[in-house]
Symmetry: C2
C-alpha cells in the first residue's frame, strides 16, 4: 500500500504540504491512527465526561491544553490544524464543509480530543490471519448507527456507532481475543451475530462508509466506532466542532503494539 513504509513524521509532512489529501488507511504500517474532535473549551468538560462514560466508543489517547494545536505525547510536533488530510466543520451539529487545513478557523479556546481508531486492531487481525473484508475489497469500513444509547454527559448524548467486519465462524473467538487486548482502540466487540439485536435493520446499507461482501457462513462482528463522537456532536449541537473526515485520520508516533500496555 502507498506510504505504508514511511515513518509517521514524513507522511504528516506530506499531508501538511497538501501532497496527501486521501484517506489514511494502510499508511505507516504499525503506527496508531487517531480520530479527532475539536471543541470550544465551554464544551470540553461535558465531552471528556462523555468519553469517560463511553470508553469503548471514545477511548481517549490525548487531550490538548486549551488553545494548543500541538500534541505532547502521541505525535509531538504534529500540527492538529494541518496534519490531517481532511477535516469536517460542524456548526450547531450540522456538517458544514470539508477542508484540508483548518488553521484559519482555529480559536484560542479550542480543545482537541484524540481518540483511538480501529485501524490499529485491523493490522493485528491481519497479522493473526483473520481476513478484513473492506481492506480486501479496497473499501471504507461499513459503519452503522445502532439502537444502543450512549451514556449521556451534560449536553452530549446519542446512539453508539459501530463498525462491522464479517468473520469466518472458526475465527470469531480469535478476533475477540486479539481486539480485547487493545482497549485503547475500542477493544473487544460490542456484539456478535444478528444485526437486528443492536437495532441495525439492513447490514447491506451502512450509515457511513461502504457495504462489504458477507459470505454465507460468515458472522458479522460489531465493534464500537470512533465516529460515535461525531454522532454525539450532531445530537448535542455545539456552536462549532471540527473533526477529521471519516477515514482521514491523524497518524501518530505511537506503535500499535504499545497500545496494549
Amino acid at each position: 500500500m502507498e506510504f505504508a513504509k514511511l515513518p509517521p513524521g514524513d507522511v504528516r509532512a506530506l499531508i501538511r504540504e497538501g501532497t496527501i489529501t486521501r484517506h489514511t488507511s494502510g499508511m505507516c504500517d504499525g503506527y496508531a491512527q487517531a480520530n479527532l474532535a475539536v471543541l470550544p473549551s465551554e464544551y470540553a468538560y461535558d465531552f471528556l465526561l462523555f468519553a469517560q462514560r463511553n470508553p469503548k466508543s471514545c477511548p481517549i489517547l490525548e487531550v490538548t491544553d486549551r488553545g494548543s494545536r500541538f500534541l505532547k505525547t502521541i505525535a509531538p510536533g504534529a500540527d492538529i490544524a494541518r496534519d490531517i488530510p481532511k477535516y469536517r466543520i460542524y456548526k450547531n451539529g450540522v456538517p458544514g464543509g470539508e477542508y484540508t487545513d483548518v488553521s484559519e478557523f482555529w480559536r484560542d479556546d479550542f480543545v482537541s480530543f484524540l481518540i483511538g481508531c480501529s485501524f490499529s486492531f485491523e493490522s493485528e487481525l491481519i497479522a493473526g490471519d483473520i481476513p478484513v473484508r473492506h481492506i480486501e475489497e479496497g473499501r471504507n469500513v461499513p459503519m452503522y448507527i445502532t439502537g444502543i444509547e450512549c451514556e449521556s454527559a451534560g449536553i452530549f448524548h446519542g446512539k453508539m456507532v459501530v463498525s462491522m467486519r464479517p468473520i469466518p465462524p472458526e475465527l470469531v473467538v480469535r478476533a475477540v481475543n486479539i481486539t480485547a487486548s487493545m482497549p485503547r482502540v475500542h477493544g473487544a466487540p460490542v456484539h456478535i451475530g444478528d444485526p437486528g439485536v443492536i437495532g441495525i435493520k439492513d447490514v447491506g446499507k451502512p450509515d457511513f462508509g461502504d457495504a462489504v461482501t458477507i459470505k454465507p457462513e460468515e458472522v458479522p462482528v460489531f465493534w464500537a466506532c470512533g465516529v460515535t463522537p461525531q454522532s454525539a456532536i450532531m445530537s448535542a449541537r455545539p456552536s462549532i466542532a471540527i473533526t477529521h473526515a471519516p477515514g482521514h485520520m491523524l497518524i501518530t508516533d505511537v506503535k500499535n503494539l504499545l497500545l496494549k500496555y
Copy 2:
C-alpha cells in the same frame, strides 16, 4: 474478617447509620472498593483531565452529575455524603478535619469522582497464592510519595504516590500478570526493585499507612496509588475538596472480577 461475607448494600447501611466507622479493608469479599474525590464543578474539568492523563494513579470508575450525591453505575442507591466510614475535608489544599458524614457540607456545585482501589487486586493476589504482607500483619498498606512527576492538567499537578508490597522473587512475574489484567484498579506495577530509582529514600518510612516487614530475599514492588489525587489536591489548593480518609473506602456493587472486562 469482619463483614467479609455481607453484601455491599448491607455494609453501606451500617456505615450510614454510624455502626461502622473503621477502615474497610477485608469487607464485602469479592466487591470493588473506591477512592473518593469531591470538588466544586469549577475544578471538575482540570481534575477529570488529570485523571485521564494519569490513568495508572487515577483510574476513574464513575463521575457523578453536578450536585448529585448518588451513583448510577457502581453503587446505585449509595449516598456519597454518608456511605463512607470516614471523610477528609481539604481547604485550600490543607487537610482540615475528618468526618463520618459530610452531608451538612454538601453543595449543589459538587462533582464526585470515584477511583479504582488496589484492594481489588489484593484479593486476586491472595487468590493467586501471593502473600500480601500488610494484610498478614494487620496493617495499612505502606504508601510513598515518589519522585515521579504526574502529567499536569490545569491546576492539578504533583508527584505520584505508590503503594508497596514485598513479593518473593519467584512470584514477581505472577504478581505483574495478575495486576496487569486489572487496569481499572491501577493495573501493572510502576516499578520493581530498588526504591531509590523512583525517589524513595527509606522504604522503612512510608509517607502514608504503615511500614511492613520486607524479608531478605523479597523484592519491593510498587503500584500507582489512589492517594495520588489527594497529593494533587494538596498541590493545587482548590478552595474545598472532600476525599475519603485513607483506607476508608466506598464499597461498590461491582465485583472485582468484572473490573477485568
